[in-house]
């Protein structure tokens, strides 16, 4: 839910400065060329053998030798980047349609809201069959399926954020665009897309870290009796778990650290620095984000030379006739359209009801009402876990966050670390915990639970840090002046000031934990399988068995839980926090 809410601190991570280097054109060019060639080699390496038949893939089994890790990492990252490209395409089309057409909005926005909260993981087995049939017998089909799975974990929050940006473009900018007669095409690329860009990039980063959860599930694909292991980090981990190799898991974690650092360096840091100029309002006193990679690219003459033709065509496309349909301004009221709207609403409701009927009939074919009761009971068990975990994480991280946030020096050190931890795929750490549970024979109902919040708790920490850092200096001085200290200070200053930020973080953490429960409530180590009592385990088990009825039921119940909690708890809480405690 909160992925669309922008976090102010994200641009502040580790501003790497290269100082004042000599301004020789050749040096920048050399760097830029190296960078570009490096990226090309990476793309070539990673996309090799896409068209090879599946049998070839099965003939060369995955190796746990660390030598292969760079290749696996490259292939996994490429999959994620391709999925990210599709997510962008989806965002620009779906969100734009939703924002531009009132009738489309009526359907698309609630749909997106549901998709955001639904764990798509469970549907993988259905989509895999479809994608494998697109390129039968070839690796490409499996790749499609994997990329689609990753796509489903990235696209929704990006789409939602972009839709919200489009809806909040300042009126005067739109009016200026109209008065100067920008075509819809030009208006989109010069006004609307730039306005949404900072939010979108922040959400891309969230999506990227979120999708690591799905990589493990999506690279190890089983169709019927055969299992395809696409070469990649996900498969590597799966094999490591099957062979109980802690060393391999450690290698994988190390590789991931490097991979995340690299794509942060060459992709997201430059993007964030580049998108800074699209920010509509600038927070005072924050240094603008910088990226030396971006600087290198910007200062290189060769890059500028290569980019020029593209920019030219782009510019000229704004003048193309076919894109320049002038639209008449709307009349202030049109009765006819209202009637059409009502018809449309009725139509949508009928279709939705029919779909609901179909789904429930499909589910009830095999299942009895008792199954529904069971799913709800399991849902309550998972809910209880999440509530307890969020409470514990809050008790730990709120005081720590406030302590760090009120000390600028500590903030500078801790904040980037917290953000890095949030971006790190926590499920890579699962095997470590699971092997410990197996070794000590611990109760999985309790000890599997922390896994759910392992990756998401950091959102609470870095949001609280940001909130505490945002307490105005004058307010802090005033507390010192009035000798407000100890518990009184926490009660009257710290808690109210960080509350809105805390709520944002808690929403993200809770939402992420629901999703994580599917991966975290069932875990295996070698041939040993641990299962906790919960809805996540229910869905995961049903997925393994290919029991579509239970998958649908489990997902429907989980979605219901998520949507209900969002509506009944988080949204009102967020609004209350915004109204009462927002400083300034």
């Amino acid at each position: 839910m909160s992925a669309d809410r922008e976090h102010p601190v994200v641009e502040r991570i580790l501003p790497i400065s290269v100082g004042e280097w000599t301004r020789s054109v050749t040096r920048w060019d050399a760097f830029a060329v190296l960078l570009v060639i490096g990226i090309l080699i990476f793309l070539g390496e990673a996309s090799r053998s896409l068209l090879a038949p599946l049998s070839e893939l099965q003939a060369t089994p995955l190796s746990l030798a660390p030598v292969h890790l760079p290749e696996y990492a490259a292939r996994t990252t490429l999959r994620m980047l391709v999925a990210l490209a599709f997510s962008l395409l989806f965002t620009f089309s779906y969100a734009t349609l939703a924002a531009k057409s009132r009738r489309a909005e009526l359907v698309l926005v609630p749909l997106l809201d549901i998709l955001q909260s639904v764990p798509i993981l469970g549907f993988l087995s259905i989509t895999i069959v479809f994608f494998m049939s697109l390129a039968p017998g070839r690796v490409l089909g499996a790749e499609f399926a994997a990329i689609f799975a990753i796509f489903t974990s990235q696209a929704w929050n990006m789409g939602f954020s972009f839709y919200q940006s489009l809806r909040t473009v300042p009126v005067e900018l739109l009016e200026a665009a109209s008065v100067f007669r920008l075509s819809p095409w030009m208006r989109f690329w010069r006004v609307e897309a730039p306005f949404g860009m900072p939010q979108l990039i922040w959400n891309m980063m969230m999506s990227m870290s979120g999708s690591w959860f799905f990589v493990v599930a999506s690279e190890a694909i089983s169709v019927g009796n055969t299992t395809v292991l696409l070469p990649g980090m996900g498969s590597y981990i799966a094999v490591a778990i099957a062979q109980k190799s802690l060393a391999a898991v450690a290698w994988a974690i190390g590789t991931m650290l490097v991979v995340i650092l690299i794509y942060d360096l060459v992709l997201f840091r430059p993007l964030v620095a580049w998108a800074d100029r699209f920010r509509f309002e600038h927070e005072a006193g924050l240094p603008p984000p910088r990226s030396w990679v971006l600087n290198v690219l910007r200062r290189s003459g060769i890059v500028a030379l290569l980019a020029r033709p593209g920019a030219m065509i782009w510019r000229q496309s704004f003048g193309w006739r076919s894109f320049r349909a002038a639209k008449a301004a709307p009349r202030s009221h049109e009765r006819l359209r209202r009637r059409g709207d009502r018809l449309w609403t009725a139509f949508v409701l009928v279709v939705a009801a029919a779909a609901l009927w179909q789904v429930s009939r499909f589910v009830m074919q095999e299942l009895a009402p008792a199954d529904i009761g069971e799913a709800f009971a399991l849902g309550l068990a998972t809910l209880l876990r999440i509530v307890i975990l969020i409470a514990i994480a809050s008790l730990v991280w709120v005081p720590v966050g406030v302590w760090v946030g009120t000390r600028p020096r500590a903030t500078r050190v801790v904040q980037p670390v917290a953000q890095f931890l949030a971006a790190f795929p926590a499920n890579l750490l699962f095997p470590l915990v699971v092997s410990a549970i197996v070794a000590y024979g611990l109760n999985p109902d309790i000890w599997l639970s922390p896994l759910m919040i392992l990756g998401t708790q950091w959102y609470i920490l870095f949001n609280v840090i940001a909130g505490a850092a945002a307490i105005p200096a004058e307010l802090r001085d005033c507390c010192v002046n009035l000798q407000v200290r100890g518990w009184l200070w926490w009660r009257t200053t710290a808690f109210p000031a960080v509350f809105p930020y805390y709520v944002t973080g808690a929403i993200t953490a809770a939402g992420g934990s629901w999703n994580a429960s599917i991966v975290a409530e069932v875990a295996s180590w070698g041939n040993q399988r641990l299962e906790a009592y919960g809805l996540g385990a229910y869905i995961a088990t049903a997925t393994q068995k290919g029991d579509f009825h239970r998958i649908v039921l489990g997902i429907a119940v989980m979605s219901l839980f998520v949507v209900l909690i969002n509506r009944a708890l988080w949204r009102p809480l967020y609004q209350h926090a915004e109204r009462k405690y927002r400083l300034g």
Binding site: E175, A176, F180, R181, R277, G319, A329, P330, S332, H333
Partner: protein, 439 residues
């Protein structure tokens, strides 16, 4: 009108009205029966307070929306969409923060699909004309307000429009910067160096209108309509201290303070205010501001009677600041307003001399006597045994007479005054009125 009779006007607005549907199905009329001609070489000012629909009219002319009735023609053709040859300068500048000065200026030309060299040449010459040389590669956020609005002007002028629409272009700037920009614009305009044929200026600043316009249309509120048309024959450049200039300003003040319609001019303004009921929209003016204004009028050099334009300029208040204060005071019978003068009543004099506690008592008396909404809230609270009433109760009642926004504003205004007067208390968390303040 004499100079324009033989040429067809650039722009014609004929009996335009604009209404918005209200939730209950009825119509909210914001503009009624508006007529306006713009001839070549003319600067026409639309002067009025906020909410008088002058900006709405400007947006209709710009083709950003279409009127519910009447028609607008530009060079003889009806305006149904933004027309080529009509450019606009915005109050908030409306610059694109992700584009440099040059890119912002080039925007309109790119939309026209002109060749690159032509775009560059024209953009640079507009930048040169408006005095932005050297700033081409700056981003708007690096510029001061005055320079930003220069970019706004350059962006509008570069498309060589026939008509330039200006929506309070100087009101977001400080006094000095605004004056410089106005003078620069007028110099360019009277030297004929601007590629435009006519200007429509929306403003709420009376002096600005007299300084710049050849003709001023004075707007009045609910629904917006033109109450008077004033021709300004003073030669450019105009001098604010010139007695003729002062006379015109004074005259416009009189027109704008005569409430509410031209037909009521015979009866004193005070008489009209007696009629206010629950349906009156109240302006949000703090009790502090009211006290401060009374003190200013009571003190030297006014000693209880002030000329509105004079006190406005000495207190740096624009029409939108001044009129709500003056009207609130008039409503509470603390002042009388007539012929552009404001004079303290006996109650007003008493208020000026009193100390804070007595002021509150007096304010309470006047509030409960003359503001029916306050009287009503107080009575409801007294009648209830709990002495508590929810905000929604009064909001609903107000919404029978006005739209949601106005109802909220009116209630907020009464809450502010009620608190100062200690007539009742209000808790924003529970959204409830009560009789007692916490003790």
């Amino acid at each position: 009108m004499d100079a324009t009779t033989n040429v067809s006007p650039l722009l014609q607005v004929k009996s335009v009205r604009q209404a918005f549907p209200k939730p209950d199905g009825s119509q909210l009329l914001v503009l009624d029966d508006l007529n306006l001609d713009l001839a070549e070489g003319e600067i026409v000012g639309l002067l009025g307070r906020s909410g008088s629909g002058k900006s709405t009219l400007l947006r209709l002319i710009a083709g950003l929306a279409r009127p519910s009735g009447g028609n607008i023609t530009y060079l003889g053709r009806p305006v149904v969409a933004p027309a080529p040859g009509v450019a606009m300068v915005f109050q908030s500048f409306a610059l694109f923060p992700w584009m440099t000065v040059l890119e912002n200026v080039q925007l309109g030309l790119e939309a026209l699909g002109l060749p690159g060299a032509e775009i560059r040449r024209r953009a640079l010459s507009a930048i040169d004309l408006i005095g932005l040389d050297g700033y081409e590669s700056a981003y708007p956020r690096e510029l001061s307000g005055g320079m930003r609005q220069r970019v706004g002007f350059a962006r509008a002028l570069v498309v060589h429009p026939n008509i330039l629409l200006m929506d309070e272009p100087f009101s977001a700037l400080d006094v000095l910067t605004a004056e410089t920009l106005r003078t620069d614009f007028l110099d360019l305009w009277s030297e004929g160096r601007l590629p435009i044929k006519g200007v429509i200026l929306v403003t709420h600043n009376i002096e600005e209108a007299v300084l710049m316009c050849d003709r001023i249309l004075v707007f009045s509120t609910s629904p917006g309509h033109i109450v008077d048309q004033i021709k300004v024959d003073l030669p450019q450049p105009r001098n604010r201290l010139d007695p003729d200039f002062r006379d015109l300003v004074e005259r416009i003040y009189v027109v704008m303070t005569a409430r509410p319609a031209a037909s009521a001019r015979a009866s004193p303004a005070l008489e009209k205010t007696r009629a206010i009921g629950m349906d009156a929209v109240l302006p949000r003016v703090s009790a502090n501001l009211l006290s401060g204004f009374i003190e200013a009028v009571a003190g030297a050099p006014y000693n209880g009677r002030a000329d509105l334009p004079v006190i406005a300029s000495s207190l740096h208040m624009e029409v939108d600041d001044l009129f709500p204060v003056a009207e609130s005071l008039q409503l509470l019978r603390l002042v009388d307003i007539e012929g552009g003068d404001i004079q303290l009543t006996d109650a007003g004099k008493q208020f000026a001399e009193a100390r804070i506690d007595d002021r509150k008592k007096l304010f309470q008396k006047l509030l409960l006597a003359h503001v029916p909404l306050a009287t009503h809230i107080r009575r409801v609270l007294q009648d209830r045994s709990s002495h508590v009433a929810p905000k929604s109760r009064f909001l609903d009642e107000l919404e029978d007479h006005m739209d949601e926004e106005a109802a909220e504003q009116t209630l907020r205004a009464v809450i502010g005054w009620g608190r100062f007067a200690e007539a009742f208390a209000y808790d924003d968390q529970s959204e409830r009125f009560s009789l007692e303040n916490p003790t």
